[in-house]
């Protein structure tokens, strides 16, 4: 049956898998294998194919191994991918506050890259709080250069809660903070942070699917499950209503969320097509226009 959804963009995605009027800019992707799960998207060509089929025109990403393993080797992998397809990919430099030697040369290392637009922080993965002193040099640098900083966030976390994003957004007002996963489970607080801080944004990865940790035999890398994690339908509408569509960006955690699944959650949210365009590409384009990629 034909959907009653009046969106022309949704009709495009259903008919073709993409919309010329609504390209997707992916602000939260990953690359490389992951120790804890089989991911079919490797090799590289499969990933590019998946992006192309959904109309992804730019993908901001970091290597998973940079977050969960050797940060230097992982960041080097990111650089190789950016060098291979600089039109499609832009890099996040992963920051690991548990690695003092890496932190000491952070600015110099970052300035030697090509095609990077900011930092990726995973406080819960490194069990170090976002508002702790070891992150300060990276955030001071990002503030001075108006970088994009993508932060893994989770409701109730001791390391990267939306409340902690509010703290650092106040300290470093020129950083464009993307709240990865929108403070999953504590969506109301994340929305309030996005509303009150000019450069804080809700990034939608994970928001497309409920999380029931009872279904994950080995648990989750993110240890907290709030009751609100069991349902996500309607959250995008809530975000648009309370933070506006200007404060939300598209991301899929590629390959963790299929671009079509993610796009479907936006196309079949009860919002208008202008809001969909804001979320899918306009806001990210504005952020990219604000930052100067390295070595350009």
């Amino acid at each position: 049956m034909k959907p009653s959804n009046p969106s022309l963009l949704a009709a495009d995605f259903l008919a073709k898998g993409y919309s010329d009027d609504c390209p997707l800019i992916e602000t939260h992707a990953h690359y490389g294998p992951y120790q804890g799960a089989y991911l079919p998207v490797e090799p590289h060509e499969n990933r590019v194919h998946a992006f192309q089929r959904a109309g992804v025109t730019k993908a901001l990403f970091s290597a998973q191994s940079a977050i969960l393993g050797d940060v230097d080797a992982g960041n080097a992998m990111t650089q190789k991918v950016v060098d291979r397809e600089p039109e499609l990919f832009a890099g996040y430099w992963v920051v690991n506050p548990r690695n003092a030697e890496h932190m000491a040369r952070l600015a110099g290392d970052y300035e030697n890259t090509h095609g990077f637009v900011g930092f990726k922080l995973g406080p819960a993965y490194h069990t170090y709080p976002l508002d702790g002193p070891a992150y300060a040099p990276a955030l001071e640098y990002a503030d001075a250069h108006k970088l994009i900083v993508l932060v893994h966030t989770w409701g109730g976390s001791a390391f990267d809660s939306p409340q902690q994003v509010a703290t650092v957004a106040g300290r470093y007002p020129q950083v464009a903070f993307l709240m990865g996963h929108s403070g999953f489970g504590d969506f109301e607080t994340a929305v309030a942070v996005a509303r009150h801080h000019e450069h804080a944004y809700l990034e939608l990865t994970c928001v497309y699917a409920a999380h029931d940790f009872a279904m994950l035999p080995a648990g989750s890398s993110t240890p907290i499950q709030l009751a609100s994690s069991l349902h996500v339908n309607g959250i995008i509408e809530y975000m648009v209503e309370h933070a506006t569509s200007k404060k939300i960006v598209f991301g899929t955690d590629m390959p963790w969320y299929s671009p079509h699944f993610a796009a479907g959650a936006i196309m079949y949210a009860r919002i208008d097509d202008e809001a969909r365009k804001d979320i899918c590409h306009r806001n990210a384009r504005r952020l990219l226009d604000r930052v100067t990629p390295t070595d350009t």
Binding site: M1, K2, P3, S4, N5, A10, F13, L14, A15, K16, G17, G36, A37, Y38, L39, P40, V41, P43, E45, N46, R47, H49, A50, R53, C206, Y208, A209, A210, A214, M215, L216, P217, S220, A227, S228, L230, H231, V232, N233, G234, I235, I236, E237, Y238, M254, P255, W256, Y257, S258, P259, H260, F261, A262, A263, G264, A265, M267, Y268, A269, R270
Partner: protein, 258 residues
């Protein structure tokens, strides 16, 4: 590497039969959900989903004692929505013994069951459910099982001939757990609701053929349109897509002998 690219025809001709959707008001409701069958139909219309095999939120988050019968009554005159019930152990007297329970299913037009062991705190095993599970197997009644993959494996070892549908297997990739089970148990099926990692739907269909995957949205836990668009744009042959979208669930329900 997958090389073929299968484009959706975009004709709206595909029939979507959602095996995993619900209505009703849980204690912690989603931002948007369906309180009533009419609201569920409106949500399905919005996403172009034709039919649903439906449970009620109270059957999962509350007690099936309260909500199995009213759900069947609610949906008795709604041709697009078919009711499913949830099971409990009969030893406590909360549900009748298997033979009587199947008679009640027949009288209420119920052809499928759900098991929510985590929500209802029981073990889905032979010690607890032998009689019922043997009856379901004999009558080809599908059991939708919300159970993590390790416990699902224990369950299938005991009842390999049961028509089982594993649901909500994600959102992470659980393939290292699941593939040995699907390799071993041909009667084990899977719903698409949490096959969210890019490429999993495609690889499942390539490995197991078109007959063991069922379209499920997990509405209102998730947005039904997300699951619908994901399947509509899956990189699989069109006839496989049609089987997953509706044909496989139609077949399983047609095989029920009750």
């Amino acid at each position: 590497m997958r090389k073929a690219s299968h484009a959706y025809l975009g004709s709206y001709a595909m029939d979507f039969f959602d095996c995993n959707c619900s209505y009703g008001t849980p204690a912690y409701p989603p931002f948007r959900f369906a309180r009533t069958p009419d609201q569920l139909l409106e949500a399905m219309d919005f996403c172009g989903i034709d039919r649903g095999l439906v449970y009620r939120a109270g059957m999962r988050f509350g007690s099936p004692l309260l909500w199995n019968d009213p759900t069947a009554a609610d949906l008795a005159n709604e041709p697009r929505l078919e009711p499913a019930w949830a099971v409990l152990p009969h030893q406590t007297g909360e549900q009748p013994p298997p033979e009587q329970f199947l008679s009640q299913m027949q009288a209420s037009g119920v052809r499928a069951l759900w098991a929510f062991p985590n929500e209802h705190h029981y073990r889905l095993d032979g010690l607890t459910f032998a009689g019922l599970l043997e009856a379901l197997t004999a009558n080809h009644i599908p059991l939708f099982v919300k159970l993590n993959a390790i416990e699902l494996g224990d369950f299938m070892r005991e009842f390999p001939d049961l028509t089982a549908v594993a649901v909500n297997q994600g959102p992470h990739s659980l393939e290292r757990y699941l593939r040995p089970l699907f390799d071993a148990y041909p009667n084990l099926h899977l719903d698409t609701s949490y096959l969210i990692v890019e490429g999993l739907i495609e690889e499942f269909c390539e490995r197991y053929g078109p007959g063991r995957l069922l379209f499920g949205s997990a509405f209102p836990d998730n947005c039904a349109g997300a699951a619908m668009l994901r399947l509509a744009q899956a990189d699989i042959p069109e006839d496989t897509k049609e089987a997953v979208a509706a044909g496989n669930l139609d077949r399983l329900l047609a095989e029920v002998q009750i």
